[in-house]
């Protein structure tokens, strides 16, 4: 078996250790003897998303957003939409998550059109939602408990076309109001969770890998790994957050 991963915008969306997710996906495949290739597709690159099995988009700074949107609206947005519709697995974090939605409206009412692949939108707020947090994935996303670090001022609201990734048990989540966290649509997993997300949450990592592998190979069972370190880091934070 082999899996082809595309890392979108590693040159500008690379804050908060999000690249740790790529490393985690790669290692957990390699440790099971599954081949993996990772393609980096920065500004100006033209990746063939339809040929990828898993696409990763991380969070970034506001500073480069203009450059990024220009690049995105040069046709990459349509390609992202098409491959999502086609069932390619996506993992999008924070800024990458917001970008998959329809738009972002800043606190002072300036509206920025995003990709529009997912039925959700984000509104900027004055209060930054920041800190360690925890949520429980819905059964259709594996049902595991996730610990992470959120750091966003945008409040994301989900439309009827998407489901939340999970329910917040400690912290803010999508908007600090409705207890939802992240979004699920087809094979898209989107969340605010940095940390990075996957290394401390190996169950979710394996669920995402399984999703991508099964689209390609049919039913797959992943060999269990020794997750002693991962469980220690996860358990420590879960206990701190009262889980």
């Amino acid at each position: 078996m082999n899996l082809k991963i595309c890392h979108m915008y590693p040159d500008v969306l690379n804050l908060y250790g999000d690249r740790g997710n790529i490393l985690c996906l790669r290692r957990r495949l390699e440790w099971r003897g599954i081949d993996v290739t990772v393609e980096s597709a920065g500004i100006g690159a033209r990746p063939h998303l339809a040929e990828c099995d898993l696409v990763f988009i991380g969070g970034g700074q506001d500073f480069e957003q203009e450059v990024l949107l220009e690049d995105l609206h040069s046709g990459k947005d349509e390609e992202v939409k098409a491959s999502i519709a086609d069932g390619v697995t996506f993992l999008a974090i924070c800024g990458g998550y917001q970008m998959l939605g329809t738009y972002y409206e800043t606190f002072d009412g300036h509206r920025c059109d995003f990709i529009g692949a997912l039925d959700l939108y984000t509104v900027g707020s004055k209060q930054r939602m920041i800190g360690n947090y925890m949520f429980t994935c819905t059964p259709e996303s594996g049902g595991s408990t996730v610990v992470g670090f959120e750091n966003h001022s945008g409040r994301t609201h989900l439309g009827p076309g998407v489901k939340p990734l999970g329910t917040v048990t400690s912290g803010f989540g999508n908007n600090g109001e409705d207890k939802t966290e992240g979004a699920r649509y087809k094979n898209v997993f989107a969340t605010y969770s940095h940390g990075p997300l996957l290394p401390k949450n190996p169950e979710l990592c394996d669920f995402i890998l399984k999703t991508a592998l099964e689209r390609k190979y049919g039913a797959v069972s992943l060999e269990p790994l020794n997750d002693e370190a991962e469980r220690a880091a996860h358990g420590e934070m879960a206990r701190r957050l009262g889980g």
């Binding site: 590693p10 040159d11 500008v12 690379n14 804050l15 908060y16 250790g17 999000d18 690249r19 740790g20 490393l23 985690c24 290692r27 980096s40 500004i43 700074q61 506001d62 500073f63 480069e64 203009e66 450059v67 920041i130 800190g131 360690n132 670090f149 750091n151 940095h194 940390g195 990075p196 290394p199 401390k200 370190a229 991962e230 220690a232 880091a233 420590e236």
Partner: protein, 458 residues
Amino acid sequence: MNIRAFLGIVTVHVLHFGIRLVHRGGTAFPGRIALKICPNLLGVLSRGVRTVAITGTNGKTTSARMIEQAFSDSGMDCVANRSGANLLSGITTEFAMRCTLSGKCKSKWAVIECDEAAARRVFPQLRPEIVVVTNLFRDQLDRYGEVTHTLENIREGLKSVPEALLCLNADCSLCSSLAEDLPNKALFFGVEKSAAHETQPPEISDATHCIRCRTHYDYDYVTYGHLGGFRCPKCGYSRHAADVAVTAIDSTDSAGSRVRIRIGKTEQPVRVNLPAMYNIYNAAGAIAAATAMGLPAGSAINAVGSFHCGFGRMEQFDIGEKGAKMMLVKNPAGCDQVLEFLSDMDGEFDLVMCLNDNGADGTDVSWIWDACFEKLSILGDRLHTVTVSGIRAADLWVRLKYAGVAPEKISLERDYELLTQKISQMDKPVYIVPTYTAMLDFRAHLIKKCGGSDFWEG
């Protein structure tokens, strides 16, 4: 002097005395209370004192110690915040402790490091004659936000002191942009192409796009991180020529580096008393600031070759068979420099890393995934063992595992007493790499075991 200032000074002296009595370190607390009584107390106390202020992400403390050494070698006694209390409150305490009760400062000079976010509150009162900006890297994003916000904080602070001379890192496109739109005079320090080894910035760089027009930078060379000979192909914003320029690195080892530095038109050999590239930058910045203050170049050069920083900066502890060195890390750029330094070591060593997530460390520890721990995985037998500790020890354990460090080399020890015992039994050189509050905690244990000076004694 008004009555409020008098009461402020008395408050600092009384509280400081009380704190020493109970053997606690806190230098910020007395100043914080005194500022409530007299909000412009620092302005009153620092009036007439000729001050060099140092800000920027990494190297503030080391640069300040180098500059202070140059002053004291020339017989010039300075006010200095050696303990690293670098917010308005801590700096106010330092000045109050060096003032008479009538508010007259006993020193004519001061060397003050200032937190980047505090610059806008500190500079208007401190009115520094020279401001050194060492560099800007992503750091404690939960507290400072993105790196351009930090730059804006410093810019805001500098707007209140248009007469101050800026001493900027020429190789940092973020820092050097301060000279573009502020009226201040500026001079630059940096490393020339002849002393650089890289041609491209690493995958994660904190300044990929032009600060003026957001076009992707081209580079003639890179020293580390985003530092180097940058050039915007569209608007022409590019590296300023350096007034104090490192032209060659002749040798470097665990004790320091021998380099050549051009000051004005003269190139001179310089010994830097701490290893690694980031300290070569600190030395260049310190020489630039000290000479701008009117000290002879020779004094500044002697100072960077003889100063001792201590306090977690390559601080030596007499423990275990071969001794231990402590290297504080705060962010990916600093951590990468430490990892680079370890990669260059000859022979086997033991590594101890302590990660905390208190306010002063940054509550978000995800930055460890932006640092290149993969460098440790290719050391083979040279990396003998790694012990992880601190509040977030398990996060480090996971990071090292995914970096490819052999699992059997990694162990976890949370108890600092047991960790100290463990280190005392090690028979190889030990490197201890803590974050800020872990350094404060663990250093206290090491000092109890092997002696040394507590930080409030300077």
